[in-house]
């Protein structure tokens, strides 16, 4: 079971580091990562394995969202199935 973490907002130093630390804290394994910076706008997408996570999904979600708030970023965690449903036939 995988989830997609999207991080969107103004670029600054250490975003990937902070998000990765948070994932590691919950034992969510990062299996893919892609990011782009367009002018000052930062967009990162991480695919994380959530099967062996030690915390509940909702807690993981909240903690990442509050990390985002602290850094002025929009961080969302969504189950990958919503993207597969929408974009694949």
């Amino acid at each position: 079971m995988k989830a997609v973490v999207t991080v969107i907002g103004k670029d600054s130093v250490g975003i990937i580091a902070d998000v990765s630390v948070e994932c590691a804290k919950h034992n969510a394994n990062i299996v893919d990562i892609t990011q782009s910076v367009l002018k000052d706008y930062f967009a990162m997408i991480m695919l994380v394995e959530i099967e062996k996570m030690e915390t509940e999904f909702a807690v993981f979600q909240k903690e990442l969202a509050s990390l985002g708030e602290k850094r002025g970023l929009d961080i969302r965690v969504m189950h990958e199935e919503i993207f597969n449903s929408m974009h694949r036939i």
Partner: protein
């Protein structure tokens, strides 16, 4: 991994364009609650609803978190109460309405629908008692919604019921006069009522449905409006394609939620209702879609054609995304719940006559329209008759939800708050329909109802 642009598109739809699941509605049959003892009937109804829907809200909340998509409403629809309480008198029915309210509060849902009757061909004593009880039932509850089916293409139009419903609207408006006659926002008069509609105020759990069922209503006018805007100037063939693709994506999310909810609640999945349901929020308006197609204001000439194309394209895109489509499925045009419609009505671009024409090509009808409080019952019935005739002749669902706002007139406006929004009071014809409505009886079913 899914393409990065697709992921960002989905996130953007939710964050910027108000994509949401409008409702997860559980249909519950109350036939096994029937009893000739009022107290026993009440207790059984309460138990059945609270037991069946016990986990509805928590499951929806769980899915909302898992997929990161807001699920705005959790609702319950029940077997038309006139059937379950067929032996009740007027007061008995009011008590049942209060039992529904109590059960709705217990399970934490937003609305409960099904306080209604099917009287397209005639009225049983139970149905007549239920209709008599509507004003008091709606005035003493907040979550109970009532719908009365007064016509069908097969049966024709029950004009006695049409006449009665005009009076009932007036009474309901009067009894809820302290709150701008809000009781009328929970009352709809239908033709060809769908028996699996998850949207309020018209949701019922039809008689051919299973014991319990999950129906999901999707939304997303903002997503469609943005897609059209992004595409820029293009011809109608291309425009229809853009709408279809967008509707497909929206519906797939609904399908996913319906499938998961049904699995988690161990309840069969019924249908997805492919409707574009607006809210008063900025960027969540059906009127804006029409305006993005090139109309200066919703309501101007060309609006009916634009809406017809939108409605058809939404269905074509959605139908492939879902295994079972049902309910109302189309674009909604509730005036008070749509920022663009409100604006158009306030500036005089949108009249009730134009709205009536629009309902011939979209999914519902004259919806959430505030009219002067001194409108006569016969005039209200005349409006109902017109709208219902459109449904009967065109083999489609139409409905009327008017609010004759007590003590207010044209030029004033009314604030319902929340998802119900606000609306200017619209002008109606000054001429009487009294003698026409007084005839009573039935308007025969149209010739094309004979299809066997």
């Amino acid at each position: 991994m899914v393409n990065i642009n697709d992921i960002l598109e989905t996130v953007n739809m939710i964050k910027q364009e108000n994509l949401d699941i409008r409702t997860v509605t559980m249909g519950i049959s109350l036939f096994d609650c029937i009893s000739d003892d009022q107290k026993r009937l009440e207790a059984k109804i309460y138990d059945k609803i609270t037991k069946s829907a016990e986990k509805l809200v928590s499951t929806a909340d769980e899915l909302e978190a898992k997929y990161g998509i807001p699920i705005i409403n959790k609702r319950v629809s029940v077997t038309p109460i006139s059937l379950v309480g067929a032996a009740c008198d007027k007061d008995g029915f009011v008590r049942l309405a209060n039992v529904l309210e109590k059960a709705a509060n217990e399970v934490g849902i937003n609305f409960i629908g099904g306080y209604g009757a099917l009287v397209q061909k005639g009225m049983t004593k139970g149905a007549a008692n239920l209709i008599d009880s509507i004003p008091e039932a709606l005035a003493t509850t907040t979550k109970v919604c009532s719908s009365i089916n007064v016509a069908s293409t097969k049966a024709g139009i029950n004009m006695d019921a049409v006449a009665r419903m005009g009076q009932i609207m007036k009474e309901t408006a009067y009894l809820t006069r302290e709150n701008d006659s809000i009781g009328c926002a929970k009352l709809v008069v239908f033709s060809n009522i769908p028996e699996d509609n998850p949207f309020m105020a018209g949701a019922i759990h039809g008689i051919g449905e299973p014991d319990t069922v999950i129906n999901v209503g999707v939304s997303g006018p903002g997503v469609v409006a943005s897609a059209i805007k992004r595409e820029g100037f293009c011809d109608f063939s291309h425009l229809a394609d853009v709408i279809k693709k967008t509707a497909f994506k929206i519906t797939r999310v609904g399908q996913l939620i319906a499938y998961e909810a049904s699995k988690k609640l161990n309840t069969p999945y019924g249908i997805i209702d492919l409707s574009l349901a607006p809210t008063p929020a900025v960027g969540d308006s059906v009127a804006r879609i029409l305006e993005n197609m090139g109309l200066e204001r919703c309501g101007t000439h060309g609006t009916t054609a634009a809406l017809a194309m939108l409605n058809d394209a939404v269905k074509k895109g959605g139908v492939m995304a879902s295994s079972h489509v049902g309910g109302l499925s189309g674009a909604f045009i509730p005036v008070s719940e749509d920022a663009g419609m409100i604006e158009a009505a306030e500036m005089g671009a949108l009249s009730i006559e134009k709205l009536e024409a629009m309902t011939a090509v979209c999914s519902v009808g004259l919806d959430m329209i505030a009219v002067p409080g001194d409108t006569s019952a016969a005039t209200l019935s005349g409006i109902i008759a017109d709208e219902i005739a459109i449904g009967v002749i065109n083999n489609k669902t139409t409905a009327v939800r008017l609010i004759p706002v007590y003590g207010k007139g044209v030029g004033e406006s009314v604030e319902f708050g929340g998802l119900l929004g606000h609306a200017p009071i619209m002008k109606l014809s000054e001429y009487s329909s009294e003698d026409f409505i007084a005839r009573g009886g039935r308007i025969p079913a149209p010739i094309h109802s004979l299809r066997n």
